[in-house]
Subunit: 236 residues, 2 copies
DNA sequence: ATTAATTGTGTCAAGAATACACCATAGATT
DNA sequence: AATCTATGGTGTATTCTTGACACAATTAAT
């Protein structure tokens, strides 16, 4: 069997950007490193790809270690491969983008990793090029959520339309019209009315919906249109 | 300075998917390997990331080697990282997606690499997981061209609206209405009428347009809407 | 009962997308 | 030089979607 010349083997890192939503703000799961290198500084959760491990499995492992969750929404975001991005050694990092339901994570695991959920507007400076990674992820979240029904990944199984609206308002930092939002959402046919009401509310209880998962899978790659108008191409 | 434990350094490959358009069909630049491994079989153009080379620079180097072109449209597509994707050795491959003007490539370089422009519907079986990479790239081309003005990257500097239409028809394998297409294109404000006419045509000569590059850069990340309707989300 | 906060739904007007028809130009044919 | 044919350029009516906006219903607190 052929073998490649002995050159250019490189340390391959995996870094995970993990978004959650607490009902009000989009949050990031970050760790305050209690290990070297860069001990004491904030960073994304990461690790190295193992020799006998598929790339996606590596991402799954790292996500599971920190959150205790499997089968969360994950996708590749981008590879960061500048020569000097890690001063210790040439390291290429594959960045993964994950959306989780914030109240389902394993608080013990998060604590043991010295991790915390942090609002986007309060995020600390991160090590290496992790700030760029986060910037890129926020951009991607805005982009993708405008076109595909990924918002649901951040909400519990049953949710109300006002909750969904708050989520989109948080993503785009912009108020949305209740009536138009509701009409658009319902017209996708992705929501099923559970018949239950949200008992938490102090006033009128909103209807609880769930995802029509069959339809969701069918229609995932089709286009949606939730991007606020200001971000669309205008003819000016 | 900290150093990482001696483990999990991995061979990092770069593979390039290069699209062109000959006025009729979308074509891929593929190589018939005259070197090992997999000598004699078809594959994407690729190479290994060098120790002292930024990732994007590596992609640029490989594209330049094959086409003689610099500053072409390139973006990261996806990382392929299954353990057994390359039987010779664990290799993780970062796949890049490139669009070039087919008539500007360096024919000598292409020849010396034993490469050829091949229509999508005539593509041979490729080595390893390169077929999956191409499938993914075609999907991405359709996706991206529907939302962003990347089609121009496949056409010469001056082009006619009918040429542009043929390009989109090739990308989506579907006929488009001339009148609506033209109106939509012109309404983007991205086209500047050069005042010249296409002299190649046998009958009425079409107007030659060029990109308004300033506007193009400004508006690149805004959304467009050239996806044929059938691919959009419908409510049914 | 009244009030305040929140949820649910309807309507109208403007804009965009689609389907479709007519005219213009240029070279080839007679 | 008249006309035929292939292709390019533009206009319009209809339908659908979007955005702005108003009013009614529900619930708990007073």
């Amino acid at each position: 069997m052929y073998s490649y010349p002995l050159s250019s083997r490189i340390l391959l890192a995996i870094d995970c950007i993990i978004f959650g939503f607490d009902g009000k703000d989009i949050k990031l799961l970050l760790i305050k490193r209690n290990f070297d290198p860069e001990k004491g500084n904030w960073s994304l959760m990461g690790g190295f790809l193992k020799e006998e491990e598929d790339l996606e499995a590596g991402a799954g492992r790292i996500l599971y270690d920190l959150t205790g969750l499997k089968n969360v929404y994950v996708e590749q975001l981008e590879v960061f491969g500048k020569v000097s991005r890690d001063p210790a050694e040439r390291t290429v990092s594959v960045v993964f983008f994950a959306l989780i339901q914030i109240d389902e994570h394993d608080a013990e695991a998060v604590k043991s990793h010295n991790a915390a959920w942090i609002s986007l507007d309060k995020r600390p400076k991160l090590i290496f090029d992790h700030d760029q990674m986060v910037d890129r992820a926020i951009e991607h979240l805005r982009y993708k959520a405008a076109l595909h029904p990924i918002g649901f990944e951040l909400l519990p199984g049953n949710f109300t339309i006002p909750q969904l609206q708050k989520l989109y308002e948080a993503i785009y930092s912009t108020p949305l019209d209740r009536r138009n939002f509701s009409r658009k959402l319902l017209s996708t046919g992705l929501l099923i009315d559970t018949g239950y009401k949200n008992t938490n509310s102090a006033t009128k209880k909103a209807a609880l919906y769930k995802l029509d998962t069959l339809r969701y899978k069918e229609k995932f790659h089709a286009f949606w249109n939730f991007m606020p108008d200001a971000m669309k191409m205008k003819q000016t």
